[in-house]
């Protein structure tokens, strides 16, 4: 049984200017101990996916489908049980380190609050002890426990956020664009940290990003999302070396790599307006291989050589 199994997830937002369909029937799974990368542009629905799993979408969102964590459907759990699972069995690290920590709480207090809430520590001292060790292992000096978030650098704050996500040794960590707001050097440090965590703790991860290069480094399998639908899903090395879906191809071409081809081609066109997505295959307006069938009919997700791909031409 997979650790996480998302089945046919639909998410719609009611906005002032219409209904936006952020996810249209996405299914995927994450196995025990593996890292699944989720790649896509802005508006592809990848962040919505992460928030939907942990059920933290805003009230204006309508969700359908099932999310099974160890066989338990998170969609149908009462709020109180869900609250106990959050932080303990599944946790999340957010994109912006500058706004995801409470500015009026010390770093140590974040940990104490978390551990005492979930009963992982009996006293404040115990919690701080555990937190201190954890931070040291993540490369943050223990003395920082006494500081307020604004006294730490962006990279340190992100490490703290990762620490909070790992503190209770969850089965699954959702990492939502955790390096996007950091500069290149710090990003490198965090990615190395992630790889180390993967080696040592063997925690499963849903690694959400727009950067294909990072996915290639960190993930075991990768899911490519476009306009709320799954375009391709497979072993990361295979997908990267031999992309099937035209969108995956285009994504790979737009990532600069040292020693690679100098032929960088940005993807033509723009992501679709999700209030009114194109009919048929949603990528067809920007696809060099688009046929008439692509314009009319939505391509089904089929298996091709150990992978899943949704394309009339390549699938």
């Amino acid at each position: 049984m997979s650790l996480l199994r998302v089945q046919d997830l639909w998410v719609r937002y009611r906005t002032r200017r219409g209904v936006v369909e952020a996810l249209s029937g996405v299914s995927l799974s994450v196995e025990e101990g593996e890292v699944l990368g989720v790649v896509g542009e802005s508006g592809s629905g990848k962040s919505t996916l992460g928030l939907a799993i942990i059920r933290l979408l805003p009230g204006s969102a309508e969700v359908r489908g099932s999310v099974l964590l160890n066989g338990k459907d998170l969609m149908s759990l009462p709020e109180e049980e869900l609250r106990r699972i959050r932080g303990r069995e599944v946790s999340m690290v957010f994109q912006d380190p500058y706004s995801s920590l409470n500015p009026v709480m010390r770093i140590g207090d974040h940990f104490v609050e978390l551990m005492m809430e979930h009963g992982a520590a009996a006293t404040r001292e115990e919690a701080l002890e555990i937190a201190g060790e954890l931070l040291e292992r993540l490369g943050v000096p223990r003395s920082r426990l006494n500081d307020y978030p604004h006294q730490l650098s962006g990279g340190q704050r992100q490490r703290v956020a990762i620490g909070l996500a790992l503190a209770l040794k969850p089965r699954l960590v959702i990492a939502d664009e955790i390096t996007t707001a950091l500069d290149a050097l710090v990003e490198r440090q965090i990615i190395d940290l992630v790889k180390e965590i993967k080696r040592e703790y063997k925690t499963s991860m849903l690694f959400i990003t727009h950067n294909m290069g990072l996915v290639a480094e960190v993930a075991d399998r990768v899911a490519v999302l476009y306009a709320g639908r799954l375009a391709e899903l497979g072993e990361v090395h295979e997908v990267v070396s031999n992309p099937l879906h035209p969108y995956t191809e285009a994504l790979l071409r737009s990532v600069p790599r040292i020693g690679g081809s100098k032929d960088l081609k940005p993807i033509p066109g723009e992501p679709p307006d999700m209030r009114n997505p194109p009919p048929g295959c949603r990528f067809h307006p920007r696809c060099p291989l688009a046929t008439d069938r692509c314009r009319r009919k939505e391509p089904p997700l089929v298996e091709r050589g150990g992978r899943l791909v949704a394309c009339h031409v390549r699938g």
């Binding site: 937002y13 906005t15 002032r16 979408l57 805003p58 204006s60 969102a61």
Partner: protein, 293 residues
Amino acid sequence: MRLPKGFAEWGLVVGTALVAMFTALALVGEALVGQRAVSNIVVVDGKVYEVPPLLPPGSSLTIGGREFAFIMGTDQLGRDVFARVVGGARFVLTVAFLSTVISAVVGTILGLLSGYIGGLFDRALSLVMDSMYAFPGLILAIAIAALLGVGVLNISLAIAVVYIPSYYRMVRGVVLSLKSAPFVEAAVVAGASSWSIVTRHILPNVVPQIVSLLPVSFADAIITEAGLTFLGLGIEPPTPDWGFDLNKGRQFFLAGYWWIGVFPGLMIILSVLGFLLVGESLNELLNPRKVEA
């Protein structure tokens, strides 16, 4: 044309309607109701009659063969409350208008100077303005009005002083943020004179902010004016005025003659609400706050 949608749009419509109504009242009201607001003497066919005091709303009298209706009753001196309520608009809105204009002009000029010149002048003036801003406005207005005496200009000045710091701070803030803006630096480097920089670059950015503050400022002025006249400052009877009448009505309230005070009070509420709605709705429509997820 479509129907207004949402709080901001409805607010603007309702507010503008109220503002228009009160402006009209201010301009022509007193002329329309004439003597009935200031005296209870009525002349019919050359004969002089006195209207009795404390008539309840809805009463009508036949005087010398003519029918007189007092839809809001009469006050303790026999004057038509409706006439007073309509006539009061002139004084109140004139004062509010004058004081708003004065405080806006003075505050803006001081803010521009302070922000542009900077240095010790700016620091000193800011300290003075901040202190004034922190001081209770009504009490400041009371002190000034008590010294200046009665009259439209005097009471307008008293109220204007209270709101100068608001305009000052806002304008100064804009000037400071613009001073380091690239397009201003470019103008300075290109040798533009201070005057042209201020008028061509800074002023256009300041004006929208001022305009957005004006309606709320007007509303505040009405409230302050009502407070001052309630305390008996700035006005001389028998000029009709809502705050003053409210105070007079107070004494008769508990005896049961509620209409003397209630109707002027309603006028205050409606006029303030009108300007407030216009100001807030405009702000909301021009600078929307909501962010979609």
